[in-house]
């Protein structure tokens, strides 16, 4: 009984110490964690290739827009031609607010908000740059281990201590008395789901015309200018009338039953790699724009809001039915299965995987397969 709280407290201490090193020079390991925010779009390290964004090896000293074989925005190329070379200062500016520094950059990323994160990610990226002369790296482990106490103190805005202090803890009334009462602000922070009947919709509004530039900036790199999907990224528009075809294209317009799902999903999970970065008005505008791309509304001035949301219907709503698998003949007949003489003559092979050969390590055609969705 005594042992557990003690070791838990120690664990908290240790975690705080590692999680927020207040190093002026930045911590490579912490930077590696921050890089998770970039990983959907960028690769770095051995064999890194261009993804949605360019690979980031040797970014220190690279002329902006200078990675070979990557198709940059015009704005990025122009910045490079005007002499922008990536160093700690320019990267800090760019990563804080990409679009404020380079208007028209196609990097769909809102920016890093914490100074620590920027310092750490720069240290991390620098470890993949040969031009490392400038700052001799401090050994990160020793530094972060040395001052755990000061770290906690030096970060008054760190969430852990702040919430701890503010919390008037009310215990659970249940049989075990475990847990504590959730506070209204906490519930509001996490409860962002929306139902088809409109329950959960926040106040706000946005028009098709307002959604267009947000979409172009934050979504089109992956989903294509018209929602057609770039490469293998998901298709968001079109496909009407394909549900009976051999390769149905299931989109918001052709398949989804409810508009609430669009709002809910974009707000919780998009843009991919930078979730929860859109304002509620942005999400209304984007939802309106996705309706427009799917020919559900035609007027660019159409405004979607909390008020008119539930009036909107998606075309395929009526085509969803309950699970009736058990009424399928093979289950419904409920017969004992045949054990002998079950087929008339010798059995013939009718299809073979080797003909298609899309198994990894085979060298077959890559795109013939169905999907897992």
């Amino acid at each position: 009984m005594l042992k557990f709280p003690k070791s838990a407290a120690l664990a908290v201490l240790a975690l705080t110490a590692f999680a927020s090193p207040s190093l002026a020079e930045g911590d490579i390991d912490a930077g590696e964690k921050v890089f998770k925010k970039c990983r959907a779009c960028h690769a770095v390290g051995d064999g890194a290739k261009h993804k949605v964004g360019p690979e980031l090896n040797d970014i220190f000293g690279r002329t902006a827009g200078g990675a070979e074989g990557y198709k940059y925005s015009k704005a990025m190329i122009a910045a490079g031609e005007e002499g922008l070379v990536w160093d700690a200062d320019s990267l800090t500016e760019y990563l804080t607010k990409p679009k404020a520094m380079i208007k028209g950059t196609k990097m769909a990323f809102a920016g890093l908000k914490k100074d620590d994160d920027i310092e750490n990610i720069l240290a991390y990226l620098k470890s993949f740059s040969t031009e490392q002369a400038a700052a001799a790296e401090p050994a990160p482990e020793t530094a972060s281990e040395a001052e755990p106490v000061e770290t906690a103190a030096a970060a008054p805005d760190a969430e852990e201590p702040a919430t701890e202090m503010a919390m008037a803890v009310e215990a659970s009334q249940g049989a075990y008395g475990l847990g504590r009462k959730a506070m209204p602000d906490e519930i509001a922070a996490w409860d962002i789901d929306i139902r088809p009947d409109g329950t959960g919709l926040p106040d706000g509004k946005g028009t098709v015309a307002e959604g267009e530039p947000i979409y172009a900036e934050s979504c089109a790199v992956c989903h294509g200018d018209f929602g057609e999907g770039a490469g293998r990224w998901p298709v968001l528009a079109g496909g009407q009338g394909t549900l009976l075809k051999e390769r149905p294209v299931k989109t918001i317009g052709s398949y989804w039953p409810y508009l609430s799902t669009v709002f809910d999903y974009v707000r919780r999970a998009m843009p991919f790699g930078n979730a929860r970065s859109l304002s509620d008005d942005d999400v209304y505008a984007l939802t309106a724009y996705l309706m427009y791309l799917n020919d559900i509304v035609e007027d660019e001035e159409f405004e979607l809001s909390k008020q008119n949301f539930t009036v909107m219907r998606l075309p395929n709503e009526a085509n969803f039915i309950a699970d009736d698998r058990l009424s399928e003949p093979h289950y419904a007949k409920g017969e004992e299965p045949c054990m002998s003489d079950c087929k008339p003559g010798p059995v013939q092979i009718t299809a073979r995987a080797q003909v298609i050969d899309v198994t990894p390590d085979g060298d077959g055609d890559e795109s013939s397969g169905g999907g897992i969705d």
Binding site: A11, V12, L15, A19, R39, A40, S172, Q173, G174, A175, Y176, L178, G179, R180, K181, A182, W190, D193, I194, R195, C222, R232, W233, L243, L244, E246, P248, I252, S260, T261, R268, F272, G273, A275, F320, I321, A322, E328, P329, H330, Y331, E335, P337, M339, D341, K343, P346, V347, I349, T350, A351, R352, A353, I356, T359, G362, G369, G370, G371, I372
Partner: protein, 427 residues
């Protein structure tokens, strides 16, 4: 002391030579059929081997142990063309290399929609709110003070086999059936947590949400939540692996894997389902007529022969052959597994070995004497509700080929005279 290295070197050279020799002789023995006695004897027996003379590594060389270096091929694999990005992708359990019913933690297939979230247990919270008497927040420490249970369950992705609807495509049981694993979970029955918060009588549905970058959500009917759902923090005795939702995941036994929300942070009680993306755009089953089934939660009765299979060919020639595989049903236990070696003309009942637990994998064996002729292997499972695993053609007749999910059709492997195995379909 001085000539010890020399001796060791000499010994090593000798054993390398004998190794080559053994290799040659081994080959010859196979070519000549089995059981031919060699005059000189098997050098692996007659000569002293390195591992029999020199000391091996001591304890603590690997504080967390790893499989033998000779098992380096036993890994999860992915199909790169399936998805746009590894952050929202899937890989597959190497079923063809495994036996028994428990999947080792490091081999459990991975599927996530926004990468693996990294969450320190001290920073994790589980919130219950909505139609409850008292909305509650639990820490991991709180959760570990509720009474715990241990239960063995399979988890299968509803899209397991989804690439095979239009015909046999992937040549390996890992790829056709590897979106499944089965482990023993330790956790708290969800019912205890719901009772602690006090679900109102109007509370008929539950929304489970993850803390990852996809904030994965699924609606679950209250009946199921109160029945056998588990909020788990351990798998096979140790903490959940990060890719399986560390520090906390929901278990929804027998139901599609997507509902087993990982990094579980929120449970909302409501009076209607939420129609989230993963229960509308995805995980709905499009039928031939254009209608789509929704809320197809239960994983149907299913089985597959894991060996022989394309990645596990028969290398030993004629004679005794162990045919083995897995069977499972989201409705309960497996009552019987039948195996055919002639493509379904005649069937024999296989032997189920090991525990038979509801909503868990079952291991079956059929021990035959292979005469070296071609085989068309299939297995057919029957569960304790009497549901019989259908053929792929029966499924296509009922649903068309665009359903993606819930493909539980009977799998056929063709074994040729050399023991090479291929994924095929038969008349």
């Amino acid at each position: 002391m001085v000539d010890r290295t020399d001796t060791k070197q000499a010994q090593q050279t000798a054993s390398r030579r004998s190794f080559l020799k053994a290799g040659l002789m081994g080959g010859a023995a196979v070519a000549a059929g089995t059981g031919v006695a060699r005059a000189a004897g098997d050098p692996l027996i007659t000569e002293i081997q390195d591992w029999n003379r020199y000391l091996g590594e001591g304890v603590d060389v690997a504080p967390y142990g790893k499989p033998s270096e000779f098992e380096a091929d036993v890994v999860r694999r992915s199909v790169p063309w399936l998805t746009a990005d590894p952050v929202s992708s899937i890989n597959f359990t190497p079923l063809h290399e495994l036996d028994g019913i428990i999947t080792p933690n490091g081999l459990c297939f991975e599927r996530h929609h926004g990468g693996t979230a990294t969450i320190a247990p001290a920073d994790h919270r589980l919130m219950i709110h909505g139609l409850v008497d008292t909305p509650l927040v639990f820490t991991m420490e709180d959760l570990k003070r509720f009474p715990r249970e241990n239960r063995v369950y399979f988890l299968e992705c509803a899209a397991n086999g989804g690439m095979e609807w239009r015909g046999s495509q992937l040549n390996g049981c890992q790829f056709t059936h590897g979106m499944i694993h089965c482990v023993v979970y330790t956790g708290v029955p969800l019912r205890y947590l719901l009772e602690e918060a006090g679900v109102k009588t109007t509370g008929k549905w539950l929304l489970a949400e993850g803390a990852d970058a996809a904030a994965m959500t699924r609606s679950i009917p209250m009946e199921k939540a109160l029945d056998d759902c588990l909020v788990a923090f351990k798998m096979n005795g140790e903490a959940l692996r990060p890719e399986q939702g560390y520090p906390l995941r929901l278990c929804v036994p027998g139901w599609e894997g997507n509902m087993w929300v990982k990094w579980l942070r929120r449970l909302e009680i409501g009076d209607a389902p939420w129609a989230q993306r993963e229960e509308t755009s995805k995980y709905t089953d499009l039928l031939a007529g254009g209608k789509a089934r929704r809320h197809t939660w239960v994983m149907d009765v299913k089985s597959v022969i894991t060996s022989p299979s394309p990645q596990a060919p028969v290398t030993h020639g004629k004679g005794p052959l162990v045919i083995t595989g897995l069977a499972w049903s989201g409705s309960g236990t497996i009552k019987r597994v039948d195996v055919t070696i002639d493509g379904g003309r005649t069937w024999q009942t296989a032997r189920i070995d090991g525990p038979s637990l509801p909503k868990a994998l079952h291991r079956f064996y059929l021990d035959i004497n292979w005469d070296g002729s071609e085989l068309l292997l299939q297995s057919r499972a029957i569960d304790d509700q009497g549901l019989v695993q259908p053929t792929k053609n029966e499924l296509r007749a009922a649903r068309g080929e665009n359903s993606i999910y819930h493909n539980n059709g009977i799998q056929t492997w063709h074994v040729n005279n050399d023991g090479v195995v291929e994924n095929v379909e038969v008349s």
